[in-house]
């Protein structure tokens, strides 16, 4: 029985944490938020130099060829300090899409560049102010040319490439697009400007299909299942940081002659934060195992981790503000950075309701198999 990370993985986790603390990651996140820089290029370069963008790239393409477990421990630390970098877009989504579905030539061309940072990727799904689904995607692809508009695409300014979810003659397809041509990229405002988001207008942009014709929506779901596990680690990292912040404040802030952390009203709130975080963490560990072993349990494990981690981070972030009282509502305190990021992450690869539904569908399938 070993539902834990190895000593090497824990070492990597510790190093990641030290590095990000030394780089004052949280201060950088605030800077990006205030300046609307989209991302912190300097920090991103350093992260590339650390080799983290190559963790899930096979050695034959100059990557580190490590497992997803290494990616999980790094994700937790990036989440903890709200790193303002395109790691999730480029590593969890774009790189995974190429490794899984690109042809050999594309892999040889782009994977080494993802390691060196010469290529940065993202994923474009959303088009309108409603939930995207297989029936309402209207960006079209015809003879490998993409036309239409995507909104809320993360990191499109720093990205060199994008995987676009689009509608072909035979259903949804995933296409790889070089963003340097026939793409008009415009910054958009979001609830968390510490992570840059953009709209992209494609006008006959050259593209190349990933995966089989008509399989696009399924491939997208698989990609999202994988990313859900990694993002759940960012969420538990963020939730832990919010809990730690609330805890420190509750011990240092006095009211009515004693530390507010001595009141049960605050104690029970923080205990509830700990309970939700612990459930989420344990579910994320299990999902990490399912991801790293390519288990058939991944869809259920990923949805479980995603739902628990979303609830934990949202709760910890909102109750951290509450614990801080009026100070928590000021721009100056960092509480709102966590509140914003928690909400951003809770919709970025699909809403809580969406993932709850996926979870129950998986349970129904399991139950049917069991009965028949």
């Amino acid at each position: 029985m070993n539902l834990d990370f190895s000593d090497d993985q824990k070492f990597l986790q510790g190093e990641a944490r030290k590095f990000l603390e030394k780089e004052e990651c949280l201060r950088r996140a605030r800077h990006v938020l205030e300046q609307k820089d989209g991302c912190d290029n300097e920090l991103w370069k350093k992260i590339v130099d650390m080799g983290w963008t190559g963790i899930n790239i096979p050695e034959q393409y100059d990557g580190l060829g490590l497992s997803h477990l290494e990616l999980c421990v790094v994700a937790e630390q990036l989440g903890r300090c709200l790193a303002p970098v395109p790691f999730a877009s480029s590593v969890y989504l774009f790189t995974e899409a190429l490794v899984k579905h690109a042809d050999e030539q594309v892999k040889q061309d782009l994977l080494p560049k993802l390691v060196t940072g010469d290529c940065v990727g993202t994923l474009a799904v959303t088009e309108q102010l409603h939930a995207p689904n297989a029936d309402n995607i209207s960006v079209t692809v015809s003879e490998d040319k993409i036309t239409g508009r995507k909104i809320a695409v993360p990191d499109a300014d720093i990205a060199t490439h994008c995987v676009v979810v689009c509608k072909g003659n035979n259903g949804i397809e995933l296409h790889l697009v070089d963003l340097s041509q026939n793409c008009e990229i415009t910054a958009v405002d979001t609830i968390d400007d510490s992570r840059g988001h953009f709209s992209i207008n494609f006008t006959n942009a050259h593209s190349q299909r990933l995966g089989e014709v008509g399989e696009g929506w399924n491939l997208l779901q698989q990609l999202l299942n994988q990313a859900a596990v990694l993002i759940s680690f960012e969420q538990i990292g963020g939730a832990q940081a919010a809990l730690d912040m609330a805890n420190a404040y509750a011990q240092q802030r006095y009211a009515f002659g004693r530390a507010i952390g001595s009141y049960q009203g605050i104690k029970h709130k923080l205990a509830d934060m700990y309970i939700k975080l612990t459930l989420a963490k344990s579910n994320s560990y299990y999902a990490a195992w399912a991801l790293s072993t390519d288990s058939s349990e991944l869809p259920l494990a990923a949805a479980t981790a995603r739902v628990s981690a979303t609830e934990a981070f949202n709760f910890c972030a909102q109750e951290n503000i509450q614990t801080h009282g009026g100070n928590g509502y000021t721009w100056e305190y960092d509480c709102h950075l966590f509140y914003r990021r928690a909400k951003l992450l809770s919709v970025t690869i699909g809403s809580l309701a969406n993932w709850q539904e996926k979870l129950v569908k998986e349970l129904e399938n399991l139950h049917c198999d069991h009965v028949s």
Binding site: D4, V307, E311, E357, V360
Partner: protein
Amino acid sequence: MDFNDTPQEAEFRAKCRRWLENNAERTSNLDTSGQQNRYGDKYLDQARAWQKKKFNAGWAMLHWPEAYGGLGASAIERIIWQQEESQFAVPRGIYEIGLGMAGPVMMQYATEEQKARYLPPMAAGEEIWCQLFSEPSAGSDVAGLRSRAERDGDHWIINGQKVWTSGAHFCDYGIIVVRHDANVDKHAGMTFFFIDMKSPGIDVRPIKQITGGASFNEVYFNDVRVPDSQRLGAVGDGWRVAITTLMNERLAVGDANGVDVEEALSWAREQDNHGKSLLDNGAVRQQIAQWYCQASGLRNTKLRTMSALSKGETPGPEASITKIVSANKLQALGNFGIDSLDMAGMLVTDNSEIHGFHNAWLGAAGLRIAGGTDEILRNIIAERVLGLPQDARADKGVAFKNIPSGA
């Protein structure tokens, strides 16, 4: 990461399973007719026989030293045994408190002679033990207890009342904490003993629970004489000794058993909801997702704890969330089952699925209190895990007799 036993663990598991296959049944032939109220005599006999059988083979308290009938097993081996035993239909509920709470306290505080006398028959199930801490005016605040012990030569005389004592009516011995001095600080005035439950002056009366059953008792003490040699720890050390025991109780109480996600899902699937399955209802689906996340979170938390034990490490505090989460989930599941029947939900019927929801609904109300209320458990997480300061207290630095009691 993997979910495999180490080679030694696998070997140990196989050994447990072999013995269980040869000595226990997978399907129940237990006489549970008496359980709604008190364990029936026949069930007690079956429990005694099973305990004795385990003891003779060393399994009864396998983590105890061999001198007291154990196998000197490690923590992970103990869990493996429990996992294997849980797959068989064997009697439960009689020995858990004695072995889980009285056992460790006797092991730590009794004399060598007493351990040799009392521990083997405790493990063998020949003598059953109970725990006498709570009192009518001392529940969550156990240290507020008022039962008195007065010294009389080499004996003590105990007067007062204990409450919520599981199994007191069939137990042979009990561990008890009482107040020997009300003129000093609350926590300094207590002393701990083990007593013979058949002593003159002890009167055991059942408490009728909201389920209609009566698994607990009130125990009255009227000039009960206890030899000083049965004192555990020094005079005035009673609270420290009791805390050791309470920590063991919190480990022993653990999961709230009963209906779970799977039952709720198959139930909802079969229920008609305006011509559709109730499982198509969005609110129901959302609840099921939430319960599954909790159930799965607890299961995986347990696996993390086991992983630490398997590596010979001390587990983190994560298991402290188990009871609070599982008891609340059980209550929600019970409510769901009853509500799902709409106007018919009030009926008590023979349907075993509905019965399961009713049991969950009534039982969970007690499980949220037993072994530490939700509120006390949140305090424990806040103070011991998160390091928050203690609440302001009106009972510190005051002689016990001067503490406000509301009486």
